[in-house]
């Protein structure tokens, strides 16, 4: 019986090639998308789930409860030690402090090799490897990183540096200052971990590398100073969190006791909690999940639509089968068998498509998702069953219910196949889904365009930054002068960071001899007297700072003035300002116009600009338009002459700013892609449906033409129907899309408004797409010779 079902199904498909093509294409696009979304979601959910006791692993995080609540994924450096000495709830405690982009050299090799490690190095306590499941393939886990000057590296690094895993005893040198001997080799870290460092160094060396002051400083948090903890099984999280209160009372005084707070963050939360440093918010995974469901539903809708529309053509076959003794149940299963074959073919195609596209998605996310996901086969099976029954049941029931006599006499009509209303609802669903995705795409594209092209309050064009790699002030000044004299360099500034940057330094402030620190922090943009001219920042009051090596003068921004509760910028001029725990003080000499110092996701901060050589870590060069390449080469040459031991690296400011929107770009591309797929599936279905409609209306069209209707009238027969459906769909889609996209825009502090133009654009584009799809087929019927269509009746 089954064999016969399959055989018939196969022949039916081959006979109705267009029908099969539309269904298989639509379904395979939908399934391929859902496979990719599945892999993506599964990948993100699998982050750091491979550690033993992963439910007991926590990260200690910091919160500051003041006017607002600020959070950091890091803690004061001495916290880990205090935790180990003063409290017992941690079975294991490990500190890990990482540094990005250090210079690694191999001193003992024949020729000196230099590497800039993007993921950086981490000074790590040995317990780290008891808490996390990162096995050593070489070296003794019990003794590794215990002594000073030890290092362990991953296989990948070992291969990259020496071309072998056998690297115990080899030496690496960090920033030309400290040497470390390799005492262990780690198995390569799996892609699904948020621990990115590949080089781990003895924690004890951090005092030499950073400073003793930093190791003992409870007053500040360096964003890379992490502390992990394996909670004892018997201790509830709430008890541990309560203990932190004692710690705050012990190490802080005065108002700080109320402000500072430490908490345990579960390991599973780290990858998703964007209050801290998470990569992705779970809501985006949910959005993807729903997009996946949408796409599958649209593909199934196609299937149902075409199958029921086609049912009339199969009336005779069904009638004969019934007369020959087939039970409704058997006809139902026969149809399910057909659906299954279509779905299986679509599965196979989808599998290939997903396999081909996954590398592109990995590229987009810079991730390493694997296709050989162990849950994938199960997912495919479940998916197939759902698709088969979702799309096959209804047409199956309709077919099975045909009255044989009517079927044989071709007397079946719309009412026997569920009427047109069901199909109308389905088409409306499809249109609505496409429109939600189209509106989403338009909003995201507009917002990103707005973020990238709005006036940021400073100039970002033709500006490059070069690093100041060490503390040698003499070299810094020499190179500063030489770079400034280069042809094609319009202006140059020594600074900590450009006006908008990912690295920021925020400290407390004391204004005008007020007794207490303000309840908010200030973002310090250290820069010399050319900072304003290089970045074209406007002064609104006072004057620019004078050239100086230490801070005695400040510039502040308008937000600073507002935060103080003052009305006019002039009110702060000449007032005293102290920052960084009162270690730096001076007079405010000018106020600059606000500029966006973060991405549009964040609000503009209160900012001060001050000259201070200790802070400088970049040369910012404003280049003139002509002879760009020559300027770059010359700058590189000069830099390498000054710092022969360091690795040259330069960045364009506009690239750095574009990096702020990397995640948004990824999201945009994904939504664009899925919107395109939804539209393609929708068009396929629409085309199939209109073909069916044309067939059904052949006689009507013939009669109308004989009665004098012209092509336009006939086209309107089709247009009327679809225009109405489209408008209904729009009425459903618009509020849904508005709601979703308003939520999306909540992530931005500076954003576009979702105006009517976006909706108009969306409905227009859908209308054009639908018109093109429907138009061609309708045209064919409208121009058919009526004599022919009537004769056959």
């Amino acid at each position: 019986m089954i064999k016969s079902y399959i055989k018939i199904a196969w022949r039916n498909l081959r006979r109705n090639k267009a029908y099969a093509f539309i269904n298989i294409t639509g379904l395979s696009l939908g399934i391929a998308s859902s496979i990719l979304i599945f892999i993506l979601i599964d990948y993100h959910l699998s982050f750091d789930d491979f550690h033993k006791n992963s439910d007991r692993i926590y990260r200690v995080v910091t919160e500051w409860h003041d006017e607002t609540i600020d959070r950091s994924a890091a803690v004061p450096q001495p916290l880990g030690k205090a935790l180990r000495n003063d409290f017992t709830f941690g079975e294991k405690v490990a500190r890990s402090v990482s540094f990005h982009n250090p210079l690694i050299t191999l001193p003992n090799e024949k020729e000196i090799k230099k590497f800039a490690e993007k993921d950086g190095v981490a000074f790590t306590e040995p317990e780290f490897f008891d808490i996390f499941n990162f096995p050593l393939i070489k070296g003794n886990k019990k003794t590794v990183l215990v002594q000073l000057n030890e290092a362990i590296v991953t296989q990948k690094i070992a291969q990259k540096y020496w071309g072998t895993d056998d690297v115990i005893g080899k030496v690496i040198r960090l920033d030309n200052r400290i040497s470390f001997t390799i005492t262990g080799v780690l198995k390569d870290l799996p892609p699904n971990t948020d621990q990115k460092q590949q080089i781990y160094l003895s924690y004890k060396n951090i005092i030499e590398y950073a400073s003793q002051q930093r190791e003992n400083n409870w007053g500040g948090v360096n964003s890379e100073s992490k502390c992990y903890l394996l909670l004892k099984p018997s201790v509830p999280v709430s008890v541990a969190n309560a203990n932190f209160k004692q710690m705050v009372n012990k190490y802080y005084t005065g108002r700080d006791q109320k402000v500072w707070m430490f908490k345990l963050q579960p390991l599973a939360d780290i990858h998703f909690n964007t209050d801290f440093d998470a990569f992705v918010d779970k809501k985006y995974l949910w959005a993807l999940f729903f997009i996946g469901v949408f796409l599958i539903v649209t593909a199934c809708v196609n299937f149902i639509n075409l199958a029921t529309a086609q049912a009339l053509n199969r009336a005779k076959e069904i009638g004969v089968r019934k007369v020959l003794g087939s039970m409704p149940r058997q006809l139902f299963w026969q149809f399910i068998a057909e659906t299954t074959i279509i779905t299986l073919v679509a599965d196979a195609l989808a599998y290939v498509i997903a396999w081909l596209v996954l590398p592109l998605i990995n590229q987009l996310f810079q991730s390493q998702m694997q296709f050989n996901n162990e849950l994938l086969p199960l997912f495919l099976v479940v998916m197939t069953v759902i698709v088969v029954f979702l799309s096959g049941s209804y047409p199956g029931v309709i077919l099975a219910r045909f009255q044989p006599i009517e079927a044989l006499k071709s007397k079946l009509s719309q009412k026997n196949i569920g009427g047109f209303s069901l199909r109308r609802i389905l088409v409306v669903t499809q249109f609505a889904i496409s429109q939600v995705l189209i509106i989403g795409t338009i909003v995201i594209v507009s917002q990103i365009h707005y973020s990238k092209t709005s006036d940021l309050g400073f100039d970002k064009q033709a500006i490059i930054t070069l690093p100041i790699p060490n503390d040698d002030n003499g070299k810094m000044k020499t190179l500063h002068n030489r770079l400034g004299q280069l042809n094609g360099v319009k202006d140059i500034s020594l600074c900590y960071q450009p006006p908008a940057a990912n690295s920021n330094s925020t400290t407390d402030i004391y204004f005008n001899n007020r007794p207490e620190a303000e309840h908010w922090g200030i973002n310090i943009k250290a820069g010399d007297d050319h900072y304003l001219s290089t970045f074209d920042i406007k002064l609104v009051a006072g004057r620019n700072i004078l050239p100086a090596d230490t801070t005695s003068e400040f510039l502040v921004n308008e937000t600073f003035v507002k935060k103080l509760g003052l009305k006019s910028p002039d009110e702060v001029i000449g007032k005293k300002l102290s920052v960084n725990g009162k270690t730096i003080s001076g007079l405010i000499v000018g106020v600059v116009k606000d500029f966006y110092n973060y991405s549009f996701h964040s609000e503009i901060s209160p900012i001060c600009i001050m000259p201070n050589t200790n802070y400088y870590s970049n040369y910012a060069l404003k280049l003139s338009g002509s002879n760009f390449k020559a300027s770059l080469t010359n700058a590189e040459k000069l830099w390498n002459e000054t710092y022969p031991d360091e690795l040259y690296d330069y960045k364009f400011l506009d690239d750095q700013i574009a990096e702020f929107y990397e995640m948004d770009d990824v999201l945009m591309k994904l939504v664009e892609g899925f919107a395109a797929i939804a539209i393609i599936i929708g068009c396929l279905g629409l085309y199939g449906l209109v073909s069916f409609m044309a067939l059904r209306k052949t006689k009507e069209i013939g009669v109308r033409k004989v009665l004098g209707a012209d092509v336009g009238n006939i086209l309107w027969l089709f247009g009327k129907e679809f225009s109405r459906l489209l408008i209904i769909a729009f009425v459903i889609a618009a509020p849904v899309a508005w709601w979703a996209m308003t939520n999306y825009l909540k992530d931005y502090q500076y954003k576009i408004t979702i105006g009517p133009s976006i909706f108009i654009l969306s409905i227009l584009s859908t209308f054009i797409i639908a018109a093109v799809t429907v138009g061609y087929r309708s045209m064919l019927s409208a121009r058919a010779n009526p004599v022919k269509s009537l004769r056959s009746e």
Partner: protein, 225 residues
């Protein structure tokens, strides 16, 4: 074998009942060959469909092999019908997607006959109708007469006691028609199959052992030979 008593079939049109079949009573014994004649619209096909249980009467009693069909549930009726009745159509109604072999085989599949047995039965039938050479062709590749042969073979494959034929020769030329009627006659005489056919042709009607003339849904006359 079959008894219709006061069978009527009507459609409600406004306040009026529009009778297609009007109070027909009819008994058919096993082994009979009945021809139903009458002008278009006299209710021939409807009567045949009621006998074949493809259509339900509005009123009346219907007995088939001693079962009260009008009281049977859908499922039971289908089972009864599967077991005893074979249909032959004017337009053949072969399934276009299936080969000759598969068309003939289909009723057996629906009766859960085992694969090996099916093979034997179909081979037997092909042999008997001398269409072995055509078993892998599709209906579109056959002439009308050949298609009707397949249709009859398909109707006979499940060894029905009763064959209902709705103008079986209507689409055929006279020579082909004659062959089909000869075949019916032989089936009736040699195999004892009961046959009820609807026909327009006086000549074909005379192959039967009884001719019933319908007019406006009533039996106008009935002749036995």
């Amino acid at each position: 074998m079959l008894s219709l008593q006061h069978i009527s079939k009507y459609y409600q049109a406004g306040g009026n009942k529009n009778y297609v079949i009007n109070d027909i009573s009819l008994d058919v014994d096993e082994g009979e060959f009945v021809s139903i004649m009458g002008p278009s619209g006299s209710g021939k096909s409807t009567l045949l469909n009621i006998i074949g249980m493809l259509d339900e009467p509005s009123e009346g009693y219907h007995y088939f092999v001693n079962e009260a069909v009008h009281q049977l549930k859908e499922k039971k009726r289908a089972a009864l019908y599967k077991q005893y009745i074979g249909f032959v159509f004017q337009a053949y109604h072969l399934i276009d997607e299936l080969t000759v072999y598969e068309n003939i085989e289909t009723p057996l599949i629906y009766q859960d006959v085992k694969g090996s047995e099916r093979k034997a039965m179909v081979a037997d039938m092909l042999d008997r109708f001398q269409i072995v050479g055509k078993k892998d062709l599709f209906p579109a590749q056959l002439s009308g007469g050949q298609q009707q042969l397949v249709g009859i073979a398909r109707a006979l494959i499940a060894k029905p006691k009763l064959i209902l034929a709705d103008e079986p020769t209507g689409n055929l030329n006279s020579k082909q028609g004659e062959e089909i009627m000869e075949l019916f006659s032989k089936l009736n005489k040699e195999d004892g199959v009961t046959i009820i056919q609807v026909t327009h042709s006086e000549k074909n009607a005379e192959y039967g052992s009884r001719i019933i003339n319908l007019l406006d849904g009533r039996i106008e006359s009935s002749r036995k030979f």
